[in-house]
Amino acid sequence: MLAAEAGAAASAGWFLENAWLFPAVPFVSFLLILFFGRKMPKQGAEIGITALAIVFAGALIAGAQWISHVNAAESAHGTEETHSTDETHGTEEEGHSTEPGTTEDGTHSEEGTSTEESHDEGALAVSGGGRSVVLGPSLALPMAEEGGEAHASVPPVISEWKSDWWTVGGIDFQVGTFVDGQAVMMLFVVGLISLLVHIYSTDYVHGDIRYTHFFAFLSLFTASMLLLVLANNLVMFITAWELVGVCSFALIGHWWEEQNNSNAALKAFLTNRVGDMGLLIGMITLFFTAGQGRTFNIYEINVAAASGTVSDTALTVAALCLLAAVMSKSGQFFLHTWLPDAMAGPTPVSALIHAATMVVAGVYMIARMYPVFFEGMSIAGGSINAVALIGAITTMVGGSLAFVQRDIKKVLAYSTVSQLGYMVMALGVGAWTAAMFHLMTHAFFKACLFLGSGSVSHACNHSFDMKTDMGGLRKYMPKTHATFLVGTLALAGFPLMSGFWSKDEILAGTGGFGLSEGANGRYSLMLVMGLITGGMTAAYMTRCYWLTFMGEWRGANSPNAHHGAHAAAHDDHDAHAPAGHDAHDAHDAHGGLPHESGPRITTPLLILAVLAFVAMFANIPGQFGFVPEGWRLRFEHYIEPKGEYFPAISHAEFSPVIAILSLIAAAVASGLAVAYYRKVEAQDPMGTELVDGPTSKAGLPKVAYNVLANKFYLDWLYTDVIVGFVKGPLARAANWFNQNVLDGIVNGTATVSKRIAGFTYTVLDQQVVDGVVRGSGIGASETGGLLRRMQNGRVQGYAALMFAAAAVLAGVFVLAI
């Protein structure tokens, strides 16, 4: 059974060592829902919710155990303690010791640090399945040479199954889990959001024709995502990566009866294939170049990459290939086009998969394989690198596209693209912790916003169109309004909301213009782009909030109004609920004024809104002296890996200048947006844009609007230029080549063959071969005719022959002897 099972005594905690249970529980739930869901009283939803509750509770315990694991590792520093490495248990232990005087919790004391930690004392062994890899002292990495920080090294908890998964070409593949701070953080985020989305969905997709199917796939998705988070080798990782892709495909296309939804699902799936090719190639590159011998083990690859024993070229190639995978999965510019289309799926899916969890898989991968990117992209060098650049471009592209969307979900989708860009940019400039922190806070407030938009749509003719169906909802939906406002403020970077801190940490991490200290080089361009996007975020979220909640309700005059009432009329008959609409409880006010959603929708919203605020306490900046020391930088302290499998990054400090700059950007931008919409309101209370606004006139604004409205012509490039070229001229050329050249060769060959065959038939077969056959037949027949005469049936004739023969024989004997 599990290798680490008996190793619990050697600390680390049961939940960390048996982390395989996290994906296993929702997977079992998936099977149960699939096979028995329809027979359950709640049609399978209760199975999913139970499984997710178990996962979430487990994640909380695992979090607690991880914290005590970190504390235990640190309290052991300086005591020259080497845990006995127990081969049979397969747990990974590391003797860890730090020089006295190092700080434990990340306060950046310059004095008392030593650039060399005595890692050399402890050999590290990863064992499992009879195969053990001992990473010798030579791989130990001095921590934090540049930043002047030092931490006690905290070994991750690696558990491997004793037996091999499979063996090919002498390479053993193993299954195992790799738990460290970031994995535990993701367990918590995925578990929590998935649980809330499950609860939300019981109301939101109530009465849907594929209600059970929906929950089954939510469970499968959660299982896949948890597997991805915990995978300890790249084969498992890519398996989980593809599984979440499949779940995404299935859930985007949940209402596949409408062509658009089915197309969106296909687009998401196929765009992701482009990046998956990169993942595969990157994986194989690392397999052949990193680690001791050939390995897919993430830990070994990381140690090898961090120690500098892998060639820079190999790491650069691998990092670029993996970056392609990140670009597709995490919606980075120019492969981001699938993400807004993915909003064709049900809103809970958008919240869970396309905002909070799955799309951060790419970000998570960079974080997980950080040494590869850090060394491969020379992030510490401070020069502009591909990761940072892609992230920075994405964040601006996403932010600008969000301005021209009418669909509230698409605004949020482009906002997600933009925020993912922030995270990738943060990783690209070396601000690892900031990226992970933003990942977590973004998961909370973006899930809150998405679920809020679903709640809004629920009340507004099932439409997501802000311009025709919304407006003035603050009066009708107080809870949704309040939570959406919190989410908006967090996203826009309003001070004291979690988004403010995490975004500010990213901006500080760029170290641009020397405005913040201790960063990995100066990425001034990234800082500028990040600040501009911060302003844009504030502006488009103000627009989105205004169009949805301020002004007067426009839904009554909407072309969708009848539509919605029609859907409501059918709601009582589940079987007839038209697919393509968010079917829900029959309720009274349809066709009338919008109303607040039920408790199963508003409770998750409230929880997420609280978290969107509270998450800020996870990483209070280090130099806030008025906060007790044990409260500061907790996120960095517990989540950031400390050990030889992580590069020596340094941390930016909170920079008041950058904070004020980003605050000014956000305030000015949202102020402008408010001013604009006040003007609109003054012009026409039901209006959504200025009649004679800048974009309605010719000139630069109009051009800019068109570029944005056409999504930078990327879809046009993909479908018309690339696909069109392949379908049109290229296909015709291929056809001509096929018809004339290939078919000519084929036809020529056939003609020659036919001639040869004719000759063979008439001469060889008919005359020679048949001649021989017939000749032998005739010969046999003639001989038989001759011999036949001897068989006259007369006994005496035979006797005469016999005597004659005997006489001849006797004569021969007499004469010969």
Binding site: R788, M790, G793, R794, Q796, A799, A800, F803
Partner: protein
Amino acid sequence: MWLNQFLILGALLFCIGVYGVLARRNGVMVLMSIELILNAVNINLVAFGAFHATPAGQVFALFVIAVAAAEVGVGLALVLLIYRNRSSIDLESVDLLKG
């Protein structure tokens, strides 16, 4: 010189027997001719046995007589059955194996 007479007698008897086997059409006569052939052989055996002063020739001759008796029994039975089926023992007409 006394051996020659017996050999000549045996040869004569053998030739008569062969002639009878080949020429006679009556089945019973053919069987009797076979007996002649066998007896020619018996004469030779006894003659050579006496010539070499060994009893082996006589023992062989007795065996041949015994076997011949059995053979005649079988042969006569065959002839009898042929007669019953065809009311004739003419060997010329027994040609079912004709090819």
